[in-house]
Symmetry: D2
Subunit: 176 residues, 4 copies
Amino acid sequence: MTQVIVLNGGSSSGKSGLARCLQAVLPEPWLAFGVDTLIQAMPASMRASEAGIEFAPDGEVVVGAAFRALEEAWIEGITAMARAGARVVVDEVFLGGAASQQRWQKALGGLQVLWVGVRCESAVAAGCEVARGDRLTGMAEAQAELVHQGVSYDLEVDTTHTEALECARIIAAQVH
Amino acid sequence: MTQVIVLNGGSSSGKSGLARCLQAVLPEPWLAFGVDTLIQAMPASMRASEAGIEFAPDGEVVVGAAFRALEEAWIEGITAMARAGARVVVDEVFLGGAASQQRWQKALGGLQVLWVGVRCESAVAAGCEVARGDRLTGMAEAQAELVHQGVSYDLEVDTTHTEALECARIIAAQVH
Amino acid sequence: MTQVIVLNGGSSSGKSGLARCLQAVLPEPWLAFGVDTLIQAMPASMRASEAGIEFAPDGEVVVGAAFRALEEAWIEGITAMARAGARVVVDEVFLGGAASQQRWQKALGGLQVLWVGVRCESAVAAGCEVARGDRLTGMAEAQAELVHQGVSYDLEVDTTHTEALECARIIAAQVH
Amino acid sequence: MTQVIVLNGGSSSGKSGLARCLQAVLPEPWLAFGVDTLIQAMPASMRASEAGIEFAPDGEVVVGAAFRALEEAWIEGITAMARAGARVVVDEVFLGGAASQQRWQKALGGLQVLWVGVRCESAVAAGCEVARGDRLTGMAEAQAELVHQGVSYDLEVDTTHTEALECARIIAAQVH
């Protein structure tokens, strides 16, 4: 039985909308968490510091040691929720590519996981960034390719020309 | 010189993202207001009352007399901002079709206005509603055709298969 | 008949909560707008530029020429709403003290206005800033005294030791 | 070493502001999660259903079996984060009083926990509800006493007359 769905894609590739659609089309209740949930849970001071997470004007994201330590605990926590019986959609941005996936794989070992790559053409993702009115732009473009490097998937979807709800149906068909 | 751009379309047709994109592609600074700005400005008690605005479980929206009175003043206010020299994008849902347009036309008389119809296939708009995780669904479908009845436009865009940023460029080309 | 209530106070002095409470205790429906409504309506690019509005790390706020021009039009618009019959609560931060008040007075001329000063001890306001988890801190302290310089009021309230709802009742008693 | 701080109090008693202040005054980085984080993570359909969570017009909150099952997994997950080394502030509403506390105690067994009761006079909490402009009111009053029944604390704070930042300093002094 699939217990965890990991959606990995760059900023503005439509992952969180996709997660909401998955919750709507899957027959059982699934929890949805993302890296944004973790960032929100951190002290405000971590959101703009060298030890925490920094968003450079050019769209680069730099993550420090204190952030990494809390993230490790976060991954353990999400895994424990799944082991306790919850179904969980995780919406992630693998800034470290394959290394990021390995951190999750190590924790999730033994659980049934569906790994999903969420692609979106960099120009379209950049447009979504503008449409949301974000002050910081550039992340969509900086991350579009980066986050997929060396990552292996059970399934990939492309939100460039396919609506979130349709992508969700494609993914749901692979959930056991 | 175009002073006001009115975007009219159903719920979840992508108007507010389009408005943000217009602000990004137009060379001058434009203000963007929507019917949501007005609803936010009203007392909480108006958001669930017969005199105010009610959102029925099937997606129907019913507007009462007190809401209408404040809306009239709101339209006068937005018009006054344009007369005072501001460029304004208005993001609207013409629940009354042609009658709604006439209310704006009467107030805006004499100003250069670009009327834009924002279409989105009802199934796709309904999908966006799901992707946003709204508790109330059905508005997208209920409004998709309704809001365009009897309304005349300078220009129409369709967000079903065209990205917001591209639609914004098409509209911006008609702004003088 | 009082048509406009202007609440002026520094950042984190509790003005927006006070405006919501006023809407709840006043028998007629009042619209509530604030300088935040205006900032939200501006292009994202104006929120971090010399021509627009800049938030310095020490809490200072610098406003440029393009911001000022849009603000003038905004003031005209709010005034027009009141002239068209709406009752309006305006939640403001008079960064320019007396000069800011004069801009509003000039536009509102002839309308019945209740001018309310909203005080909050700078240490308590700074605490509210922390409690909200704002990334930028310092505004509360920088503005606590500044915004009241040379401003004349019909009424002053102090949110340091008085709850918002109680302050709202005190103000409502002066509304005709 | 204190690993977990559990803040328990009724709706609008100021717990989330208090959690933000704790993050600001404690020297180490703490994660802050609340029951709102869990509700946000659930499918939209759970937020208005008998199996999920229902908010009655009189302020009563009814929680169903599917909600309980996900909540159990959530508690396991938060506990696992603490066991993995993270410091965590939990902002909770013990609708079941002592029974709710026991669910957490069972999971957290062995970890150093600081149990904090957050009191707020029911009239003041109800005022905060109004000031936030919530559409649903009544929860503050319904929960003010209910959530503390049979619960035992290491420490209690009262936000009625004490600012969040000051309450946070009192709590922080008990953190080892």
